[in-house]
Subunit: 334 residues, 2 copies
């Protein structure tokens, strides 16, 4: 295991410590738990709070999506592990500013269990909580079982849009509805070229042969659609764009936002080569591209590979996607 | 070689094509050369132009530093190779808006030769050109031979500050002087844990044993200070911060900006663990940290490792560093 760390069992603590030292004007810790970080100015009076959380090892997920125009608080789990219900409850309390709280997170069993429990405890305290689960990964379950699908990088769109909606002063039901609409119109698929290593485990979580890739692999190394010989960027894009398009399905004339996300070790050059091919495929299908995001938005530590996410836009989603937002972890938009 | 590409000999063309498709509101190509990209609104009337360039394989270097408050035009070479003098000349012409042009780039022999030739041709056309070379890598030559040192990630500070100065309406001599002052007060050092592969070569450019790192390695795999057993993040930070501090030297009471840069494959979590240790070391030495940047600012494709850059600030440099700037490739600052 080749990592720049101090202790495999202190990776999360040391990461959070470094983040708070790097961005003290943006984030702060909480007294309730060292695993709960919040916007420096949280709770934001009168605004619907947005809380998220999940396992570590995916930066900028989840911490990078806390900030103005994004989420307000985050509960941080161990590497690839769910946060506790107590920490999620602390995050909800920290985000509550009188207008209720939206829980927005990826559809993973451990997270769902812990966050539901936290929501119940918060409701018992009089905090209104709604929940929206991102489930954009098209290969994680068939279309007739969408509720079983996992969330991957496409959750970026939901953070951005729900964050914009809340910032604009919408009510909890409105923010939740817009987040739900975003999730319903988002589809993603990934490809992995190499594994990653959980520090406390010390060896890679799977292997991919030197001339192979795994189509549809999840961001924790969950098995994908199939192993295949490594193909060209254009061929890989064709497979992935095809599968994503037919799932919703996206149709000629649809207006979309595109996210090409690097899983960790893949150079930005390769992400643009992939986007170059994806752009041509989408245009050829008559899809209108409103804007593109290319970079690392949801990683699996040092895994090589990428994912593509498409969001079908309507006027509301487009307006909220284009609203200003800020996080020092993120590529800039304006 | 495991890369998401189409053709090892078309990596740069495909990358640039993807970039122009992804960010059409930000960048545009030129008629003069497919290897010259410019700000959408270049030339910016009355503003000193800033041009840069260098080999590919380092994104967000160099293209990511083109934008408002940054550079105006860039000449793009093959992977790890210098751009041509003709392309640099085309970049200068595209950036010239009546106030002259600053060439700002890293100190590599091929770049220097090509860019000097381009500057002479531009001067012959009546364009005033000044040149500032970044040479922040402390291990690339001893202190008495600073002019032989290579530029690495610390050039980020020079882009940001010279870009701010030009944006603020300064003259060419003023912008060049502020860029020179930035370079003179910047020091960096890197560490590599794994190699990278030039696509047209097809195999890694060197190897590092499973339990080793190379301290001081350059961003093209240039040999560093020494091979050593892989140490903890705190120990690595201690060696690197120590060497950087004593080089300028930085002194108790100095105010600095810090950049912890990922070389490509190193997860953001590890960069924050490294920053956590560096912060403590700097504070212990009485160094005041004005702000920190943590992320990928100058990469070597899929190389694992990181670098640290320190910039000693005065009031002018701090003000220019904090000015707004925009590029879709970059982490956001404000």
């Amino acid at each position: 295991m080749k990592k720049i760390i101090n202790d495999p069992y202190r990776v999360v603590e040391d990461t959070l410590s470094g983040i708070l030292k790097a961005f003290p004007h943006h984030l702060k810790g909480t007294e309730a738990s060292p695993r709960v970080l919040i916007r420096r100015d949280a709770p934001v009076r009168g605004k619907v709070g947005i809380v998220t959380g999940g396992g570590s090892g995916h930066l900028p997920l989840f911490l990078g999506y806390v900030g103005p125009g994004l989420a307000d608080a985050v509960a941080v789990g161990n590497v690839f592990s769910s946060p506790s219900a107590e920490d999620m409850l602390a995050a909800i309390r920290a985000a509550e500013a009188g207008a209720g709280v939206l829980q927005l997170f990826g559809n993973y069993t451990g997270d769902v269990m812990a966050f539901e429990m936290a929501a119940e405890m918060a409701e018992a305290e009089g905090i209104h909580v709604k929940r929206v689960l991102a489930n954009d990964d098209v290969v994680s379950a068939p279309p007739q079982e969408v509720s079983r699908r996992r969330g991957i990088a496409g959750i970026f769109f939901a953070y951005k849009i729900a964050g914009g909606k809340a910032q604009a002063g919408a009510s909890l039901p409105e923010v939740a509805e817009t987040a739900r609409k975003t999730v319903e119109n988002t589809r993603s698929m990934g490809v992995a070229l190499s594994p990653c290593t959980i520090p406390a485990v010390g060896h890679p979580n799977f292997s991919v042969a030197d001339d192979e890739m795994e189509l549809g692999m999840g961001i924790h190394g969950e098995p994908g659609l199939r192993r295949a010989k490594l193909k060209t960027a254009s061929e890989i894009a064709s497979i992935m764009v095809g599968q994503v398009l037919e799932d919703l399905p996206f149709q000629r004339g649809d207006r979309v936002a595109v996210l090409v996300n690097g899983l960790g070790a893949t150079p930005m050059e390769e992400l643009f080569i992939f986007y170059d091919a994806a752009y041509d495929l989408l245009r050829h299908q008559g899809i209108e591209i409103h804007r593109a995001f290319v970079g690392e938005y949801a990683t699996s530590m040092e895994m090589a590979g990428c994912s593509i996410s498409l969001l079908r836009l309507d006027d509301e989603l487009q307006q909220m996607l284009d609203m200003p937002a800020y996080s020092p972890f993120l590529l800039q938009w304006r």
